[in-house]
Amino acid sequence: MKQAQFGLRAAAALFAAVTLAWSTGAAAQSAAQRAVDAAKPLCAGGKTITIVWEAGLQSLDPLNFSGPKWEQLTGCKVKVVEAPVSEMFTKIMQEFRAGTGAYDALNVIPAWMPDLAQAGALEVLDPYVEKYGYAKELQTIAATYRDNQMKVNGKIYGFPDDGDVFVFYYRKDLFARDDLKKAFKAKLGYDLAPPKTWKQFGEIGAFFTEALKSEGIYGASMFREAGYGNFMFQERFRNEGGKFFDANMKATINGPEGVKVLTEWRSENKFMPPGVEKFGFVENLAVFLEGKSAMTISWPPYGRFAAGYLSEEKALSWVPKSKIAGKVGYTLPPGGHPELAAGFALSVAAGSKQKEAAYLFIQWLNSEEISNQRVQLPYALRDPFRDSHFTNPGYLKLWPDAKDYLAALQAASKTGLLDLSLIQTDKYEEALRQGISRLWAGEDPKKILDDIAKQWDEITAKVGVEKQKAVYAAWAAKSGAYPK
C-alpha cells in the first residue's frame, strides 16, 4: 500500500516537474519562435500568404528579407502585392467588397483603421494575440504607437509596425559657424540655434538665405506639395493650439491658428528654394542632400540617407549622393510636437481564407526579434517603433551620429501627434489637400479655410453628427491627439 502511495506521489511529482519545465520553456520561447512553431503545421503542403505592401523600397523587406526567411522557417511562401500608398486603401476595400479572399495580410495606415474596421475589412486580432501569447511583446512597442495606433473601439485591429514621425533636420556645421553666429546675434538679438518656435524658424530661415546667398544655400526647404502638406498642416495647426472640431462637432479649422499657419507658410516660401510649392519627399530630399538647404522636416529615412552610410546599397542608387554626411543634426520640429505622419500597422484581412497563417506571419514580422532586424535593413523604410529599437546596439553603431538620431526619434515618438482619424478620414483630408493646393494657386488663406470648414461640416452631417462625434471623442482622448 505504501509502495503504491509512494509510486503515486512520485508520478505526481514527475508530472508537476514536467509541466513546470514545459510551461517555463513555453514562457521563455519568443513570440517569433511561437509563431514559427505554430505556423509549421499550417504551412505543410506549401501555402502562400498574400500580403499588401507599399510599392517601392518598403516592399523590399518582404521581397528580399522577411518573405524568404518565413518560407525557410515555416514552408509558407509569401506573395507581395505592391501598391502605391495612394492606392492601397482602394485596393484593400475593393478586394474586401469583391470578397475574393485574395489578400491574407495587410499593411494599413493607422488613420484608416476606423474606416476599415467599421466596414468589416479587418480581422479582430485579440483572440489570436491571446492564443499565441503575444500580449507581452505588444507592451514593448513604444507607448505612442501601442496606445494610439492599434485599436478601434477597444479591439486590436493591427500591430503598429512603422515608427513614422517627423524629425527636424538641420545643418550642424552652419549653426556652428562663428561668422553666422555673430551676424545672427547682431541682427536678431538671440543666439543662433535650432528653432524652438515657428517664429524663430522664420527668422533663422530668412537669415540663412540672405547670409548664404553666395554659397547657394537656402534657409530651409519643406514639404509643400498638397499630399505632404496635409501632414505638415495638421502638425503645425495643433502646435499653434488649434483644434479640428468644437464640442458640437463643428469644424474649427478656420480659426486664427489655421489662418496663421497658411499665412506663414506662404511668407516662409520666400526664403525657400524656388518651386518649393511642389516639393514632396524626393524633391525636398534632393535639395537637402545636395547641401542647398539649412533646415528641413521629414520622416526618419532622411537622417539615414543624409549620413551617407548607405551609398553603396544598390536599391538606393536613386538617392542623390549626400554632400552633408556628418553635418546633420536631429531634433524636434518647432513646437515640440511632431506629426506621427502616416505609419503602418500590420493587419489580417477579414476575407482571408487562411487567417491563422496570416496572423502568425504578422506576429513573427512584428515581434521583438524580427522587427529589430527589419528596422535596420538598409533599403527598407520601416522606422524604429519598439523601445528596444531605439537602444539596439547594432543600430547605434550604424553611423557616427546614429545615437543622436535614435534619441531624436525616441523623443519625437513620445510627444508625437496622431493623424486625424475619423469615419471617412480621406474626405476630410481631401478637402485639406485641395485647400493647400489652392493656397499655392494664390487664394486667400481665410477663404480657403472657411471653405474647408464648410466641406468638413457637410461630410460630418452626411456621416451623422452624433456618430462622428463619438469617433472624434475617442480619437481626441488618445494621448497623441493634441499637445498636452
Binding site: Q118, G275, R438
Partner: protein, 313 residues
C-alpha cells in the same frame, strides 16, 4: 377515301401548301438564326445591360464605404447630385476642355493631313513618327508631360530659362493661369495625330478628277476645299469629331497625372470626380447616380450628333 377529299395533293401541291411550307422553313430559319446569335445576345446582356440595370438599382440605394444599405432610398443620391456644386463644376471643366481641345485638334490634324497629302520625301517616316503619341498610354503621356513641366528639371522651364537668360521657375501645374494651357498642350499633343491619321485617309480618298476639274475651271484653293474636299471628307471627319468628343468627355488620365484635378478642384473633370467619389471614398450609390447622368448625357449627345451627320439612318 378518294383523293379529292384531300385538300392538298403531294404530286401537285397547292399554293397554300407551298406557302405554309415556306413559312415553316422561314420560321425554322429564323429560329436557327436566333440560336446562332443567342450566345452573343446573352454576352451583350451580361456585360452591357445587366451592369446598366444594376447601376440604376444601386443609384437608388445608399451604399457607402461603411454602410451596405441596399434599401430603397428614392431620389436621395439624385438630390445630392443636383446640389453638388463640385459635380457641376467638374462637368463644366470637362466641357471647357472639350470645347477647346476638339477644334484645335481638328484644325491641326486637318492642316497636317493637308500637308502630308502631297508626296514629299520621307513622308512615310514622318507619318509614322507623328502617329507615335497616339500609341502611348494616356497615363504615361501625362506622366511624361508632368516631367516636361517640372519646374526644376523639366526641359520646358530650362528652355525658357535659356531664352530669358536666367532661372525660370514657372509652376505650370499650380499657377491657375497656366494649368489649363498645360493640360491642353499635353492633350492636344497626344490626340492631334489621331485626327491627322483619319483625315489623311479621308483626303486620300477624295476624287482627284473633281479637283483637277475645279482647277481647270479656275477655282481657288479655299473654294475647292469648301465645295469639293470638305463635303467629300465630311462623313469621316464627323466620325473623327464624334470619337474625339466622346474621348474628351471622359478625359481622365492626362489631368490625373498632371494635376489630380487641382489646384483645389480647378481642373477636375467629371471622370475624375466620379473616380474619387466611387473608388477613393466609396460613395458607391452616389457615384452610380453620377455615372447614370454621364451615360444619359453622352447618349443624348451621340444621338444628336449621329442625327446631325445623318449617319444613323
Amino acid at each position: 377515301m378518294p383523293a379529292s377529299c384531300f385538300p392538298l395533293s403531294i404530286s401537285s401541291p397547292s399554293e397554300s401548301f407551298l406557302a405554309a411550307t415556306r413559312t415553316l422553313a422561314a420560321t425554322r430559319d429564323r429560329r436557327f438564326k436566333y440560336v446562332l446569335v443567342a450566345p452573343s445576345i446573352f454576352v451583350l446582356l451580361l456585360i452591357g445591360i445587366f451592369p446598366l440595370v444594376y447601376l440604376i438599382v444601386v443609384s437608388f440605394q445608399n451604399i457607402t464605404m461603411t454602410d451596405m444599405d441596399t434599401s430603397f432610398q428614392g431620389l436621395l443620391n439624385y438630390r445630392e447630385m443636383i446640389h453638388s456644386t463640385r459635380m457641376w463644376e467638374s462637368l463644366l471643366h470637362t466641357v471647357i476642355f472639350t470645347a477647346i481641345a476638339l477644334p484645335v485638334e481638328l484644325v491641326l490634324g486637318l492642316a497636317m493631313a493637308q500637308l502630308f497629302i502631297d508626296r514629299i520625301p520621307g513622308r512615310q517616316v514622318f507619318i509614322a513618327l507623328l502617329v507615335l503619341p497616339v500609341v502611348i498610354s494616356p497615363i504615361v503621356a501625362g506622366a511624361t508631360w508632368s516631367l516636361m513641366f517640372d519646374n526644376r528639371f523639366g526641359p520646358i522651364n530650362q528652355i525658357i530659362g535659356w531664352l530669358i537668360g536666367g532661372e525660370a521657375t514657372i509652376l505650370w501645374t499650380i499657377n491657375p493661369n497656366l494649368v489649363y494651357p498645360a493640360i491642353l498642350v499635353a492633350e492636344i499633343w497626344q490626340w492631334t495625330p489621331f485626327m491627322f491619321l483619319l483625315l489623311l485617309a479621308a483626303l486620300s480618298a477624295v476624287d482627284k478628277s473633281q479637283l483637277e476639274a475645279a482647277s481647270i475651271d479656275g477655282a481657288g484653293w479655299w473654294r475647292t476645299f469648301f465645295r469639293i474636299v470638305l463635303p467629300a471628307i465630311w462623313p469621316v471627319m464627323a466620325i473623327a469629331i464624334l470619337i474625339r468628343g466622346l474621348d474628351l468627355f471622359r478625359l481622365f488620365d492626362i489631368v490625373w497625372a498632371l494635376t489630380r484635378g487641382g489646384p483645389g478642384t480647378m481642373t477636375e473633370t467629371i471622370s475624375i470626380f466620379a473616380y474619387v467619389k466611387g473608388f477613393q471614398q466609396f460613395d458607391t450609390s452616389f457615384t452610380a447616380a453620377v455615372a447614370l447622368l454621364i451615360i444619359v448625357l453622352l447618349s443624348v449627345v451621340v444621338m444628336l450628333a449621329l442625327k446631325r451627320v445623318e449617319l444613323a439612318r
